[in-house]
Structures are given as structure tokens and as C-alpha cells.
């Protein structure tokens, strides 16, 4: 019974939502790709990562201090 119901649902789905007909690109995307390649990459300095790690370790070691930390953010 369930399998028949599933098949009915699949059929309804196929009838309600047609497959995408237009799957070809209408324009060359290389210019957009070049713009993306030329964008400056934002790099987070290692010092910032170290700071984040220290804060995380501190929060783990002293969980009672977390509300105080949040208050000062």
C-alpha cells in the first residue's frame, strides 16, 4: 500500500514540476570568472587566529567568566 502511495506521489511530483528545459548557458562566464579571480583575497592574520584560540581556551577553562566576556563585547 505504502509503495503504491509513494509511486502516486512520485507521479504527481513529475506532473507538477517539469524538468528544467533550458540547461545551456546563454553567455560566456569567463569575464565574470576573471573579475572573481582579480578580487583581493581577505586573509586573516595568524595573530587574529591565535587570539581567537586563546579566548576559546580561556572560555573552556573558566566557563564562569563567559557572561562577563559577553557583557564586554
Amino acid at each position: 500500500m505504502n509503495e503504491r502511495n509513494d509511486e502516486q506521489l512520485r507521479e504527481l511530483l513529475r506532473r507538477a514540476m517539469a524538468p528544467v528545459a533550458e540547461t545551456d548557458l546563454k553567455r560566456d562566464l569567463w569575464p565574470a570568472m576573471q573579475r572573481k579571480l582579480d578580487e583581493p583575497v581577505i586573509r586573516v592574520p595568524w595573530f587574529d587566529w591565535a587570539l581567537v584560540a586563546l579566548v576559546a581556551i580561556w572560555c573552556l577553562l573558566f566557563p564562569d567568566a563567559v557572561p562577563g566576556l559577553l557583557y564586554h563585547l
Binding site: 502516486q8 513529475r14 507538477a16 524538468p19 528544467v20 528545459a21 545551456d24 570568472m33
Partner: protein, 175 residues
């Protein structure tokens, strides 16, 4: 082979050749998943951006197309996860149904409810169900693109159908 080796060394010219060779294939795959041409174009660029950034990890002995499709599927999945709340009540664009139209016997109202319920499925299930049930892609292709087994694809499609039934029931549609 030489082209792929040049690409793995970060040669931009080799990347451009590969981009031009595979952009249409990648776009075609993504648009089937996200069902929006504008978004699919952006995600195609994002896919190749990720491919370029990870060029050193590519094994030139493998098929570039299959790798690109895998990356494209992940990019499309990320997109579906992020836009989920916004697309919940948005219909799929009309210009996508230029080819075989949906069955006119299925009323507009019911179609909208089905689309809404479908867009609310978890992204992983939605992708598997879209490719298998709507686009009727072979399970092997879907499995390769998602990096999972054929059995897992079948299981996701099965779960999608079951979940969809529940959602449709809530929306007053019973097949």
C-alpha cells in the same frame, strides 16, 4: 593530460581552457538543482573559483568533469542550505518551464503547494529527489556527484518522498 598537469601547477591559461570547456556542463548540472538560471550562473563561477583555489589537490589521472560536478553539487547544496528561509514561499521561475510544461491537469494551487513543500525538504534530500525524480538522472550519476553510494541516493530519495507526503498532507494535498 598535459593540460590537467599544467592546471594542477596553477597555470591560469590551462584553467581558462578547462573553464571554457566545462562551464556549460557545470552550469547545466547546477541549474537542474537550483532551478534558477541567474543563481546557477553565479554558482558556476563560485564552483570554478573553488576549483581554482584547490588546483593543487586535483589528481590529473582523474576525470576533470566528474570532479567539477562534485564541487558544483557541493556549491549548490551550500546555496540551498543558506537560502532556505527565503525560498520557502517563492515559486520556481516561469522561464524554466519553456520546454516540457507541467501537466495542466495539475491545478496551479496544488502545484504551488507541492513546490513549497518540496523547497522545505532538507537540502540533501531535496537535491537527491530533484535529480532522481524530476530530472530523472541515473542514480549512478547522482551518487558520483554527491560522493555517496547508489544505495544512499536511493535511501535519500525514499526519505524525501516520505517527508514530502507528510508536508503535503499538512498543506491539504493528498496524492
Amino acid at each position: 593530460m598535459e593540460l590537467l598537469e599544467r592546471f594542477t601547477r596553477g597555470d591560469l591559461e590551462a584553467f581558462e581552457i578547462l573553464f571554457r570547456q566545462f562551464q556549460n556542463e557545470v552550469y547545466g548540472w547546477i541549474v537542474r538543482i537550483v532551478r534558477d538560471p541567474g543563481v546557477a550562473e553565479d554558482l558556476t563561477v563560485e564552483t570554478f573559483w573553488r576549483i581554482y583555489r584547490t588546483h593543487a589537490r586535483f589528481d590529473p589521472a582523474r576525470r576533470f568533469g566528474a570532479w567539477a560536478r562534485r564541487v558544483a553539487t557541493n556549491v549548490a547544496l551550500d546555496h540551498l542550505r543558506h537560502v532556505r528561509p527565503e525560498i520557502e514561499f517563492v515559486e520556481f521561475p516561469e522561464d524554466l518551464s519553456q520546454g516540457p510544461p507541467p501537466d495542466p491537469a495539475v491545478q496551479q494551487d496544488i502545484r504551488e503547494r507541492i513546490e513549497r513543500a518540496f523547497s522545505q525538504l532538507p537540502a540533501k534530500l531535496q537535491v537527491a529527489a530533484t535529480l532522481a525524480l524530476i530530472e530523472e538522472k541515473p542514480y549512478e550519476d547522482i551518487a558520483e556527484a554527491l560522493g555517496i553510494s547508489v544505495g544512499t541516493v536511493k535511501s535519500r530519495v525514499f526519505r524525501a518522498v516520505r517527508l514530502l507526503r507528510k508536508k503535503l498532507k499538512r498543506l491539504g494535498v493528498e496524492p
